[in-house]
Amino acid sequence: MHMADALVSPAVAGAMYAASTAAAAYSVKRVKHEDDIKKIPLMGVMGAFVFTAQMINFTIPGTGSSGHLCGGVMATALLGPYAGFLTMIGVLLIQCLLFADGGLLALGCNVWNMAFYGCFVGYYLIWRPMTRRRLSGGRILAGSLIASMLTLQLGAFSVAVETLLSGVTKLPFSAFVAVMQPIHLAIGFVEGAITAAVLLFVYQARPELLDDKGKSGRQNRFSYKRTIAVLGVFAVITGAGLSLAASSYPDGLEWSIQQVAKAEEIEAEGGGVYAAAEGIQSATSLLPDYAFPESENRMGTSCSGIVGAVFVLALCVGVCYAIRFWGKKRIK
């Protein structure tokens, strides 16, 4: 479910960065408020554990294939929602930088889709209500399964919405959702089963690791109602705000230039030197204004533009190799 940079527009990436940063800032505040410096090394090592556990192939019975862990719900069950969320951001950042799994610009989207839902929605809507009063094997199993399936469904839906708002694919939204949701229902079930298996093992071996992490610090700052309220506000912002970003108006840079220049293209005024220079350029250029000479149609513009761009890159490669060659020769 990791989104690549190519799949998000700057507006959507920026909005999701803002939303994820806000959640991260609040989480940092809460972790600081807990004032437990022992938690930071635990978060670091647990982050490494989640990362490692994602690499393990778990055989799915009867299918011949294997599943993997995402780890959001597990990190939250072990560390609490705030520390779990920060830990998952660290894991996603390292995956993005070291393994190119997800993009740097799309990190805000990935954090929201894979960490926010698992750590906050899954925890406050499912895990905590089910395990707060009494912890048992059945509750751990049900909590893990429902939380994982719900959060992966939300994450997959968010991927479809973010891709739609970015306008990068012609695939209809309904078709995209129809593909994403059932696949992630199955993935969510496997994720929930693995999470439940691990947490049940921990429950039997070290039950103290599964103490209610929401008890520390101030109580109920993010209760069931607050979670619903935050999600509602975010849905409104997404629907109303981001749809504006997906409009047909020029992008920020083009708009700024238009505002400054008061024209779509800056035309040179007067004749003289400008006219002479333009004459020389027209006579010598291979691809004037990205078009083959004497060509007025779109074919000329597009085709020659691509050829010209590739030519420039090839020239760039040649110049760079020449600089490197002379540099090494000089060192010798």
Partner: protein, 255 residues
């Protein structure tokens, strides 16, 4: 379990490449981080039919790869995670957008083909830019830059610890997986009956390790934040490097 081995190898390879001492490695880490984010933002900001201008944005990775003496093949291998998803999103563009934009010889090139090509190029360029960052800047220095940008110490410290312990835990998981595979020949992955105990054992070992790490950190004077190791100061030429590239991106975008 080759995935774990692959991850361990990749970590060591990136560590060794990032630890080299070439001119590109000596550029101030925050400058490279900011430049990477801006580059990717510029690349994805191109319209779906602006293929020629988008291709020109390849100047940045090309120049840095060649002058920085970095391997293109190492970077291209990293595309295996991203390209399938990008292709899946873009593969429908030629089916739904059939308006012919221009002809290449006898073949009509549709808007869908152009937009899919643009999507793939955006994916490739952004992965190359991320690789340029991580191949020329050790993770410790990226954490240092984040701290300089006032990212909270809680987050930066846990990020640094996660990175440091990933290779340790991966090697531990690799040993466990190897032992498991030797006892269950011909089996692909971990059997569902031992899902819990396999990953759970690793988890409990990790928790114990975290406790030992904390004790040893306390003994070395840890008080909630790591002090940043000595990193060279930001020089005028680092700022110049940033400004030149940003000017080039703007020129390519609006030129």
């Amino acid at each position: 379990m080759s995935k774990i081995e692959g991850a361990v190898r990749e970590l060591h390879r990136v560590d060794s490449i990032a630890g080299a001492d070439r001119w590109i490695h000596r550029i101030y880490p925050s400058v490279k981080l900011i430049l990477t984010v801006f580059y990717i933002a510029f690349v994805v900001s191109y319209g779906k039919y602006q293929l020629p201008r988008l291709i020109l944005m390849g100047v940045y990775p090309i120049v840095i790869f060649i002058l920085g003496d970095l391997s293109f093949f190492d970077a291209l291998r990293r595309l295996r995670f991203i390209l399938p998803f990008v292709c899946a999103a873009g593969i429908f563009n030629p089916l739904f957008d059939r308006k012919i934009l221009f002809y290449a010889g006898e073949i009509g090139i549709t808007g869908g083909m152009v937009s899919m090509a643009a999507l793939l190029i955006k994916g490739v360029y952004s992965v190359l830019a991320s690789y340029l960052l991580i191949a020329t800047t050790p993770v410790e220095k990226i954490c240092f830059s984040l701290r300089k940008m006032h990212v909270p110490a809680v987050f930066v410290t846990q990020l640094l610890l996660t990175y440091r312990y990933i290779s340790v835990l991966l090697e531990e998981a690799q040993r466990m997986a190897q032992a498991y595979a030797l006892r269950s020949p011909g089996q692909k992955g971990v059997h569902f009956k031992v899902w819990g105990s396999f990953a759970g054992q690793l988890l409990l070992r990790s928790a114990d390790r975290a406790s030992r790490v904390y004790d040893s950190m306390l003994m070395r004077g840890y008080q909630g934040e790591f002090s940043c190791a000595a990193v060279s100061k930001c020089r005028q030429r680092d700022i110049g490097y940033l400004l030149v590239w940003l000017a080039a991106f703007v020129a390519l975008r609006i030129g």
